[in-house]
Symmetry: C2
Subunit: 433 residues, 2 copies
């Protein structure tokens, strides 16, 4: 992974200031890593080296895996499924509809939309043997309305197809939550989430590892990628991408403040990774007050763009509209290759593409956009992933989680809570009587 900040329009002085401001926090992060415990808000950084927890998730996946497995339904919402969906979609999911024969498929029951549930019920109606299905209920608190409602509905449907649906259920939750206790009581398979690891930082815990391993994704490589990236992001050097990226984003919240943070992925299959980052940033930074009780005036709202699709949709606004955004382009040169035929059926319409690799065309578009951003003085960073393998995805996830901790520190907000989410839950409870 390579981060280029040449187009960031941030001064060397700002980088130096940021490094100074974060030096104590970096020391703290290194301490957290040294303890190898889950005693700190930042303890999620210890997940990639926690072989015990990893093995537990992996062994459980092995127990449920078999060659007849067709569907893994992840019942979870927000931090309980976004990381899993990010890695799954980047690997298989984005093109699942074009590969009905590729199994097992992971399906996601997040919100309790009736049409979504009806469709999932249709899938369950095709089940003829317990081996074909696993339902993974993921809820940190153990009491998420949507997830419990969805699990109940799906288990009831499954009960009409197999005699012991609860034996194909794996629960992932906090130790000692009500759900944990229920699982123990009823002898249902269950996996723990360390208490201080919040949903949006939990992808390397059993939350992500169990379903991803079950889906056949190389979770060892994912963890290894995260571990290597952690070392890079805990270093003090200029080569620390988390520090660099956090500095650029923070710098643009001042002066002519930019309250929109766009991640512009040049691979459609990374859209779910963008949605994972959207939660990471939105929940971590979206706070009314700093830790010292001052009003937070500007917080970046994260958005996700897909290249080249969104150039034909948002390109006009990005290049011609107000300069209120900081963009990170994310791409990789190494994906698949497909060539434009040399003998063309529709000749004379577009020049200089005969026989070219589609990847080359995409690369020209990406660099065309970058040149245009530079000319328009729109600030950007350019992130190049080695490839879209689990190792690269693990590295990206870890990089962004540490970047967000640093942004919390720079903004002086608590990046690990989400108190205002309760506001709508309280109102919803009043209506659900």
């Amino acid at each position: 992974m390579k981060l280029d900040t040449q187009g960031s329009r941030v001064s060397e002085a700002a980088f130096a200031r940021s490094e100074l401001r974060l030096s104590a926090y970096l020391e703290h992060l290194r301490n957290v890593a040294r303890t190898k415990t889950y005693a700190y808000n930042e303890s999620s950084i210890n997940l990639p080296t926690d072989t015990k927890l990893f093995d537990l998730a992996l062994q459980t996946a092995k127990k449920f895996k078999n060659r007849h497995l067709k569907f893994i339904i992840v019942v979870g919402i927000g931090g309980s499924n976004l990381g899993t969906k990010a890695v799954y979609d980047a690997t298989f999911g984005a093109y699942d509809v074009m590969h009905p024969e590729r199994l097992p498929k992971m399906l996601f029951a997040d919100t309790c939309d009736p049409r979504l549930l009806r469709s999932l019920e249709d899938v369950l109606k095709t089940i003829t043997h317990p081996d074909e299905i696993v339902i993974n209920l993921v809820s940190k608190s153990g009491g998420t309305t949507e997830s419990v409602v969805n699990a109940e509905i799906l288990l009831a449907t499954l009960a009409r197809r197999i005699t012991h649906p609860e034996q194909r259920l794996v629960i992932t939750t906090d130790v000692d939550s009500k759900l944990w206790k229920l699982a123990e009581e009823k002898g249902m398979e269950h996996l723990p989430i360390p208490d201080l690891v919040g949903g949006r930082f939990s992808v390397m815990s059993p939350v992500g590892i169990f379903p991803l391993a079950l889906a056949g994704i190389d979770v060892k490589a994912l963890m290894k990628g995260a571990q290597t990236m952690r070392e890079r992001c805990l270093s003090t050097t200029h080569e620390n991408p988390a520090l660099t990226s956090a500095t650029v984003i923070f710098a643009h919240l001042h002066g002519h403040p930019k309250n929109i943070n766009d991640t512009f992925f040049f691979h459609p299959e990374l859209e779910s990774l963008g949605k994972w980052y959207r939660q990471l940033m939105g929940e971590s930074l979206g706070k009314p007050k700093t830790r010292s009780k001052k009003e937070v005036k500007i917080v970046p709202t994260p958005t996700v763009s897909i290249g080249s699709t969104d150039l034909h949709s948002m390109g006009q606004l990005y290049l011609g509209g107000p300069n209120d955004k900081v963009t990170t382009f994310v791409s990789s040169k190494k994906t698949a290759h497909v060539n434009v035929p040399k003998k063309r059926m529709l000749s004379g319409l577009v020049e200089n593409v005969d026989g070219k690799d589609a990847a080359e065309v995409m690369n020209a578009i990406l660099h065309g956009v970058i040149a245009a951003y530079r000319k328009q003085h729109v600030p950007f960073m350019q992130l190049e992933l080695d490839d879209l393998s689990p190792a690269s995805l693990g590295a990206f996830l870890q990089f962004k989680m540490i970047e967000m901790m640093m942004l919390g520190e720079l903004l002086d907000v608590n990046a690990f809570d989400q108190p205002q989410v309760e506001l709508y839950k309280i109102e919803t409870k009043k209506l659900l009587v």
Copy 2:
């Protein structure tokens, strides 16, 4: 469709001012409708009553439709596919992965990502008879790089399965574009787009009607919904939803300006509809200068949220972060129904849901959020669709297109061009040699 602006935090005086400011423009729109021609920038409003163009698209769909049809591949990007995808996904597409047996399926080749193309090639490799496939190449200019590249690659693959792939190709483009002429020359099926109807306003032209009809969607109802909505939006009364919505969005660009416009759909299958609106707003309003050459300082950046999913992701930022957004909640009470079982496997975790309809739970969440927005003084509108039928979708699309024309008028920008998009295209051409 019902639009409620009680939570908009816009004064009666602002509504009155806006009505006054737009009265001449409304008169202009009514004139455009009266002419029934395509001589104006706003002429897209004449599409729902253009029976001749509609019949042409419909008859072409009938010609290509047969009971063996498996896949419709729409090759198009931006305005060439976003409207089609919006309606298709709302009707079938969002759950296509869960219904592999439901045919025909519509697949989208927008960007020329190699992995996307590889997957589409895998689909084409399953084709055993010409009747099973239609490729619809949609390009207004006829020279969109991605679309031409994708069409070439897919046609070359198809040529290895059937002898005359060009006989299963339907081209939709401007009359007299190079592509139009090529189609005429080679005797390939082709459908016109009226010259002054821009991509983002073209969903009711053959751009949307042909592939949607082919997919089995009731396009007559779609047009009827649009037509009825057009009459509402060209009226002068307070019951004009386009005028009302444009006023709310415009009002919040002043005072404490809000540069983010969020459409918060409480149905996951409407996400693509949100992406269609994202282009409509982004391209129409994202201009550096007004028509009288003044700098445009604030333009709303459109974002899409999905309820309840994004409450667990962006809810904290929306309720606890800076007040920099205007939100439109979009929902419908009439979709499917699924009940939570009365006899529960996971009892004691969530209260007051036993035996309830999932739609009722969703409704409680929606109204819980609305109550929380109100308490936090976050401005919002509430749009209730009658249902998610083609007629309702047609009404929504027409409502938003006229709303955007009015927003262009209020902001004094040309809502019908996209000159800055050329900036990256020029740079890309330099790199594609």
